[in-house]
């Protein structure tokens, strides 16, 4: 994932004449604010979370704080069924969400890459859920899903489905319900990234292929798809990390319920931190989640041979 290499220093007479000393310091001064913020509020916290994970530490019970070594991890691994079930659901959630978002996002990008009247407006409309927050998404879909005045009631009135299903409370329907909700917001992300890359494909390639008799499917298979490869790998990874970490939506939409069925690992962390104030145990969960995330990210980059075509 190299970013473009630094521009060589300008070698014009003017810049060479400048004092080498102050010039060498300039870039450090320029990145200093960002670097300082990131060290204090990103890198230091990562270290401190490891420290907290070795403590019994609950803000509401300060008298009970103590160093407990690996006790939190022992509890977590051997005595916490919610941890294990949340791990399973996290895998299912990330896999299904990212897979479906990729498929629909690719489809959507191809659709709005075509020329038709009102294309710019159509793009703006289909991309708009991208800007909507997790909580607002929950609000909107709670209105849509609610059994008394939601959309299913109106569909039932015209003979589709039956009235009064509380899709978010039923164990059998809750998973598709949350998946669709997150798709609504997640597909535009893929579509935007893929469309940006599609537009960098020269139209002449397609024209040449068309002249040679390639059909729409073949043009997609042999021109678009290879071109999109790296973006697909990158977008999938970013999105997988993001869906793994996606707490806002599930926290407000189901709260992990019914019966912990939609509890992801980060959601469990958030509940431990925000609702239970159990910082020690929450930190231990954080450490585990972080290790898992790191492991799968590296594995994914290795397996997909990302950046193979570069350099």
């Amino acid at each position: 994932m190299t970013l473009a290499v630094a521009r060589p220093e300008p070698t014009s007479r003017v810049s060479r004449a400048r004092s080498g000393h102050s010039r060498r310091r300039t870039p450090y001064i320029l990145i200093a604010p960002a670097a300082a913020l990131m060290s204090v509020f990103l890198i230091y916290p990562i270290g401190s979370v490891v420290y907290y994970s070795l403590q019994r530490y609950n803000v509401t019970q300060p008298w009970d704080d103590a160093f407990v070594g690996l006790e939190n991890f022992r509890t977590l691994l051997f005595h916490d069924p919610v941890f294990w079930s949340s791990l399973g659901f996290t895998a299912k959630w990330v896999g299904v969400e990212v897979g479906l978002q990729l498929v629909f996002g690719l489809g959507l990008a191809l659709l709005v890459n075509e020329s038709f009247i009102g294309r710019g407006f159509a793009r703006a409309l289909v991309f708009s859920p991208w800007a909507v927050s997790g909580v607002l998404t929950t609000g909107i879909w709670v209105l849509l899903y609610n059994p008394t005045t939601g959309i299913f009631r109106y569909l039932a009135d015209v003979g589709i489905g039956h009235q009064g299903t509380a899709v978010l409370a039923e164990p059998s329907t809750v998973f598709p319900a949350v998946v669709i909700t997150e798709l609504w917001r997640g597909v535009p992300f893929f579509a935007i990234l893929l469309l940006a890359d599609l537009q960098s494909i020269s139209g002449e390639l397609y024209d040449a292929a068309a002249v040679d008799g390639a059909g729409r499917l073949q043009r997609f298979r042999y021109i678009s798809l290879p071109h999109l490869r790296d973006v697909i790998v990158l977008a999938t990874l970013l999105r997988a990390v993001w869906e793994f970490n996606n707490v806002d939506l599930l926290y407000t939409l189901t709260g992990g319920g019914p019966a912990q069925q939609t509890m992801t690992l980060p959601l469990y962390v958030a509940q431990k931190a925000i609702d239970a104030h159990d910082f020690g145990y929450g930190s231990a969960l954080t450490v585990i989640a972080f290790v898992i995330l790191l492991f799968f990210s590296i594995l994914y980059l290795k397996v997909s041979k990302f950046g193979r075509g570069m350099e």
Binding site: P8, P10, P33, L37, A124, F279, S283
Partner: protein, 315 residues
Amino acid sequence: MSSDLHSEPGVSPQAGAPTPRPETESEDRRHSLRPRRSRRRSRRWSLNPRNRPEVIGPLVLYLLFTLVPFYWMLVFAFRPTGSTAILPTHLTLEHFRTVWTGLGFGVFFRNSLLVGVATLVVVSVFALSGGYALARYGFRGRKLFLLALLCTQFIPGAMMLIPLFEIFRQLHLVNNLWALVIAETTFQLPLSLILMSGFIRNIPIDLEEAAWVDGCSRFRGFLAIVLPLLRPALVAVGSFAFIGSWNNFLFALMFMSDQSKFTIPVGLSYTLGEFDVDFGALAAGGVVAAVPVVLVFAVVQRYLVTGLSAGAVKG
């Protein structure tokens, strides 16, 4: 960000220069502006009228999926309590009065706006300075810094809740909106830096060099030459920062316990959490939450795709 990953080392970053563009690019642009005329003129395969139905059909279906939820919210927000009409004939603002004054959304809105604007400003300034350093200087530790920026993309916000809370508690910033600005800025900066350095790299350095020869200092040259050309980049980066900050939920939920410091998403979540949810109020609160983002999105959406492909892919 896709774009940066595509720019190969050694390729000269002249894309921003007014070099002749490939034919497709300019044609594309013309389509979106004046579709009718270009349709008559162009013979490109994608304009073949025969392939319309298979494009329009799925697109309309997808548009329905996108828009029905928005419409549902609007209907709930504007129809009177008790009404179940899907096509509202009688509109009311009663739910907006309830949420704005009764539930305190007026205060939440102000808080969110303050945090959003402050984040926007801080992120833009830091991204400009850091992005310029990354784009224009070779320095020791540059690679490491870039690697750190990329790695931060894997750090989950939810997992930073506990350690950040501890830090803010020690700094006495719990229940202080600045805590949100700091946390937001920190999480937005890495991507903003990457994007901004990509945009700056696309501005030919010759322009700046000319200014230096004319006796401009590096800083004056930046202000006079680079900054005006960066306006689209600033709009994009600033809007991302604003939208991200406006939408953030967990930080505000964790760091603000005083109701007078709640932001819109927190307020909305409490409306949702009521035992007997008032759907009219929820919808009106949703509209209040959506309006600023929709406005910003309307401005930024054309940069979303062209900006990403211009900033990166062309580089």
